[in-house]
Symmetry: D2
Amino acid sequence: MKGGGSVADFEPRDADYGRRVRESFARQRAMETFGARLLRVAPGEVEIGVDFDEAFTQQHGYLHAGLVTAMVDTACGYAALSLTEPGAEVLSVEFKLNLLSPAAGRRFVARARVVRAGRNLTVCAGDFYSVKEGGGEKVVATMLATMMKVAG
Amino acid sequence: MKGGGSVADFEPRDADYGRRVRESFARQRAMETFGARLLRVAPGEVEIGVDFDEAFTQQHGYLHAGLVTAMVDTACGYAALSLTEPGAEVLSVEFKLNLLSPAAGRRFVARARVVRAGRNLTVCAGDFYSVKEGGGEKVVATMLATMMKVAG
Amino acid sequence: MKGGGSVADFEPRDADYGRRVRESFARQRAMETFGARLLRVAPGEVEIGVDFDEAFTQQHGYLHAGLVTAMVDTACGYAALSLTEPGAEVLSVEFKLNLLSPAAGRRFVARARVVRAGRNLTVCAGDFYSVKEGGGEKVVATMLATMMKVAG
Amino acid sequence: MKGGGSVADFEPRDADYGRRVRESFARQRAMETFGARLLRVAPGEVEIGVDFDEAFTQQHGYLHAGLVTAMVDTACGYAALSLTEPGAEVLSVEFKLNLLSPAAGRRFVARARVVRAGRNLTVCAGDFYSVKEGGGEKVVATMLATMMKVAG
């Protein structure tokens, strides 16, 4: 289990997993509205970038937890999708998000990885980072999520 | 505990709790962008309404889980805030959301209630409903959340 | 959704659901070791009682959160099982527990109810109460859990 | 954040953190009853071992999720405690546990690490592993937990 100390290497069941993830991401109007970009897709791992946008801030001027959730949940979903067979889709069953520091900054990245891929359910972990100007990152939130595979 | 079978009646510590909730809500740019409206504020209970907006949909055309989360988390936060003393503010520590059915429909409502108000931490429960055309509601998601009181 | 404001009435698919729950409960050695008793089984609702036992206390002399979890998780699982067809079994996928007050007292009760019963997954909510000497209850913890139906 | 990709090194505020963890662990009657042993204490990291015990099994003969929770929650709590100042204690606010595979085997280990240590709240991640006969481990469950520091 990645994130738990030991390391898992995942073998994709669909050589074309990257295209499936990108096409599904492109159909998400919310991702477009939020200005989110798919930065990386690997078997069991996905990274999404987003910039600060005042339109999605909470009362103290930081990014709203709902936007943070949207990014990490989406990254978790596509990390799970990357390991499924052709034609399958993935739905979020549930997630828990711990908010660790304010979502302050100009650029952010959500990173998710599959913890365990079961027959129907896939458990993912994801984090949301604020990317500092000179490099370096600060963790903003961490998620543990359950995804369900469904026929496409 | 409401939602747990027994009933709790909460006494506000600040007679002006309603104004504080409304002013904080008005400062949330994300709520304005999502088109969210504060429908009801009572001691320990808050209701927020939002309409379907294609701009915030996921790949199947339903409202994105991030938007659902934004609504229920915000309702939970203000349910907690409604019981605090003057000047206090509330931050989300963490939440768990279970997605129960697709966020399909034209109008939605998030309802949150305080489960237990402690000295520093307040636990809230909230739900997100799709409001049917002819009346009636269908539950879309349910949340259990922890909020922290901070000095304003 | 029970616990969410609206009320759900569940129709059992197996008239013999009570017997199935009781037989499965009787096979749980942990329940016997903890001294737990099945107090009530109804369609989508289960209640389990347990007494204080110093052998299962944490460092401050209260019941350990692991024991609290065992009770509420078990009650959630059987609430889910009560709505399944003959032969099905139920496994815990995940749960979140918020600890609201110390598990102090002599007698305790865990109460769980189905929030939504899907084809494969059932979401349950449960609470753990300390039963006061003269009657009345104090909520100790609240859980939101996901259960999965499996072939027996 | 460990477990999230980046690495955090924690500086203990109390050189005597190890003794405090061991003394508190020794006061937990539940740990004694479960046969749990403190295997490792480092700043922000704790490991607890436990053997299979039929007395704590569920209906299929595996360790009960309540016992798994007891181990990981306790490891998380002491990981948090290891970073506190002299005299402080730690309480569990809430946790979420995902069950990844049956708790089958003869020996088990719970490993927890601090994800972020705040002023009052500490977020921890923990895992429960089945230790295979010839070496190697299989992850059984993963937890994300919130701990609160309190005056001793």
